[in-house]
């Protein structure tokens, strides 16, 4: 019995981490229609930035924030210098972002070497908490809290601020937004930086669970894609629910259907693409 409870709690925790990973991807794809295949690289690069700061003796949360700012800057440069020139050319965007992800991966290998680097959770959050009949790592519960805070902050930004209104206008009808005087191209840059920042932040937050190693980018990118296709692009609620669904499916699926380990996450994606291609909460039909 306690095994199922453990899986349940872990599903929520993994869902929280997946939300942090995929929220940025969803935002960027929703507004800019850029299938950003460097998203996994942003996650990994954030983790590497974070672990470097931690090794210098920085506070964990400060390291996470600074890593996020650093990745936002990287994202801004990529958007301004490369993606800006490829507006509307999806194939070119896919190829450029894929190529960039290879370059970032090998750059990380040169700088940080090939060995996996473990992270510690912040002091005070390293133990485990008893929940009913199980003990669960404290830090993983904290990840859920962080995910909720980030979700709320992003929701407030999008729904309650002027910038958010402009972003939503851009998502809904780019041409009309331009006509009303919104500088959509600047919004694009802001959203790309924001999406990259959340991914970089997630890399540091995920560090104590995943550690950081060459190949982390490729492990995380498909998860972000699955979540976003399931939940629908450009929708925070979609990303949140998509993450939770994948969290539960991953945990219970691996135990109940071990033979389906490889496809269990892709099956719902397949069904969604067939029957509801805009995703559960997406506003666009691609």
């Amino acid at each position: 019995m306690s095994q199922w409870l453990l899986l349940g709690v872990n599903s929520v925790s993994l869902g929280g981490l997946l939300f942090l990973l995929s929220a940025g991807f969803s935002l960027i794809f929703g507004l800019m229609r850029i299938p950003n295949l460097t998203h996994g690289s942003f996650f990994m690069l954030g983790a590497y930035f974070g672990v470097t700061l931690l090794q210098l003796g920085w506070n964990f949360w400060l390291a996470a924030l600074v890593a996020a700012v650093g990745i936002a800057a990287v994202g801004g440069v990529i958007e301004r210098l490369l993606l800006r020139r490829l507006a509307g050319q999806e194939l070119a965007q896919v190829l450029v972002t894929l190529g960039l992800s290879f370059m970032i991966a090998d750059l990380c290998l040169m700088v940080w070497g090939g060995d996996p680097i473990p992270f510690d959770a912040p002091p005070g959050l390293r133990g485990a908490l008893p929940i009913a009949s199980i003990v669960f790592p404290t830090y993983r519960l904290v990840v859920v809290v962080i995910a909720v805070v980030i979700a709320a902050a992003l929701w407030l930004l999008l729904e309650r601020t002027r910038l958010g209104a402009m972003i939503r206008a851009g998502v809904d009808d780019e041409a009309m937004a331009r006509v009303t005087g919104i500088r959509v191209s600047r919004i694009f840059t802001i959203v790309f930086c924001l999406g990259a920042a959340v991914a970089g932040f997630a890399g540091v937050i995920g560090g104590p669970i995943l550690s950081v190693y060459p190949g982390l980018d490729g492990d995380m990118l498909p998860l972000a894609l699955i979540v976003v296709i399931l939940g629908g692009t450009g929708s925070l609620l979609g990303a949140l629910l998509g993450s939770l669904i994948i969290g539960f499916l991953y945990n219970y699926g691996q135990v109940l259907f071990p033979e389906l380990a490889y496809i269990i996450l892709f099956l719902p994606m397949l069904l969604i693409l067939l029957f509801r291609p805009q995703g559960l909460f997406g506003r666009h039909v691609p």
């Binding site: 899986l7 991966a105 290998l109 070497g113 090939g114 060995d115 790592p137 550690s211 190693y213 071990p258």
Partner: protein, 410 residues
């Protein structure tokens, strides 16, 4: 062939006659060694260490083996079969190498084994696929490290006889290296009275092992066969979920390789592992090897670096036997397979008739000593063959270890 040699000899002779001052040695071209490694992508961790080990060996020998200069050609396969095939072709047909050292991964090796054998180029690889020296041997292949199951056989023996474990669950990546390690463990552990009650196979890129760890129950130990960066994640999560406090953890050489020690935290302390190499081995050549790797590269060497250093020693011993000649490939591979060394980083070893090593396997316990993590050797199994104590014919009549072989007893 004979004609070319004659002509070359004639030209060299003519040149020597024309220029009495020219050094005679100029006629001998260098021995060409192609190193197939992985310097990019997720497998680069091991590949970089491989290159370090081989580079250090050549440095120790001043790039001269058996009186002949050595030319090293390093090829980065990218860690995939297609890349391995391309690089093998380049090394053999363009660079005309005399030896191939590498590749790293079994799936790379399998992609090139037939090709390399056809071209009669002696190949020394760490890749562990059992059948390379068992049911599908390559006559030009030598493996100085171990088959996948060569270390887990004695570990199964140790788990049953010394640790007195009765019911063990296994977990390893869902690929051939995992199947063969776990299969070897299961075979010997069950033959020694133990019982494997559960075998879990997480996909290679599993981010979170919690769903797997949560299934362990009714056991008194866990055996893992992880490799690459997974040991770090797995041991961390195994400890976090409280499993480590309940069941001792055992592992193969890649799970607790000495080169990984700097990445482990206290999560891995107490792990029992079996390996064909340990940086703790007390031989003069190992002391020198460990000290120089530390000095040059700043890390404790593990199996990847040591394996390549040892491959270099094998090439040297073979060249000494042939008097530095590499033209007769049959004689070269025969000399390579007849190599028997005592003072090497892994201690004494020789090869069996299939080209696989017979050497010591070390059982180690991961401990924290003076603030540092070390794999302390707690037992040695000398002269371990790839067939363990089984009869070779009977062993080869059985299928190769796989996901379902040996099967779980119901």
């Amino acid at each position: 062939m004979a004609f070319t040699l004659d002509r070359r000899a004639f030209l060299a002779g003519a040149a020597a006659a024309a220029l009495p001052c020219a050094p005679a040695i100029a006629a001998a071209p260098p021995v060409r060694i192609g190193l197939m490694t992985v310097k990019t992508g997720p497998l680069a961790q091991g590949g970089i260490q491989m290159e370090q080990g081989f580079t250090l060996f050549l440095k120790h020998r001043n790039s001269t083996l058996a009186g002949r200069e050595v030319e090293l050609i390093v090829a980065d396969t990218g860690g995939n079969p297609a890349g391995a095939k391309t690089k093998a072709q380049e090394l053999i047909e363009r660079d005309k190498v005399d030896f191939i050292v590498g590749p790293l991964a079994a799936f790379e090796l399998l992609a090139i084994t037939n090709y390399v054998e056809q071209h009669k180029v002696p190949m020394l690889s760490l890749a562990a696929a059992d059948d390379m020296t068992q049911r599908k041997p390559n006559a030009f292949f030598v493996r100085a490290s171990a088959t996948s199951s060569q270390c887990t056989h004695p570990l199964g023996d140790y788990a049953a006889k010394e640790m007195k474990l009765k019911r063990v669950a296994t977990i390893s990546e869902d690929f051939a290296f995992g199947y063969e390690q776990i299969g070897g463990f299961q075979q010997v552990f069950e033959d020694s009275g133990g019982r494997i009650v559960m075998k879990l196979w997480p996909p290679l890129n599993t981010a979170d092992f919690t769903p797997f760890i949560s299934q362990f129950a009714g056991i008194d130990g866990v055996m893992n066969g992880f490799a690459g960066s997974n040991p770090i994640k797995f041991n961390q999560q195994y400890a976090e979920l409280g499993a480590k406090a309940k069941w001792p953890i055992l592992g193969g050489w890649t799970a607790y390789d000495d080169a990984l020690l700097k990445s482990f935290g206290d999560d891995a302390v107490g792990a029992i592992s079996a390996a064909w190499y340990s940086s703790e081995i007390d031989t003069p050549s190992n002391k020198r090897f460990v000290a120089d790797i530390l000095k040059e590269y700043g890390n404790i060497p593990g199996g990847y670096a040591a394996g390549l250093y040892i491959n270099g020693m094998c090439i040297e011993a073979a060249l000494k036997k042939t008097g530095g000649k590499t033209e007769d490939r049959q004689a070269l591979i025969a000399a390579l397979r007849a190599v028997s060394l005592t003072d090497t980083p892994r201690g004494p070893f020789h090869f069996d008739h299939l080209g696989n090593v017979v050497g010591t396997v070390f059982i180690r316990r991961l401990e924290r000593k003076n603030g540092k993590l070390v794999n302390t050797i707690i037992k040695t199994y000398p002269n371990v063959s790839q067939f363990w104590t089984y009869d070779e014919k009977e062993y080869l009549a059985k299928p190769v270890y796989s996901r379902d072989y040996p099967p779980l007893k119901s």
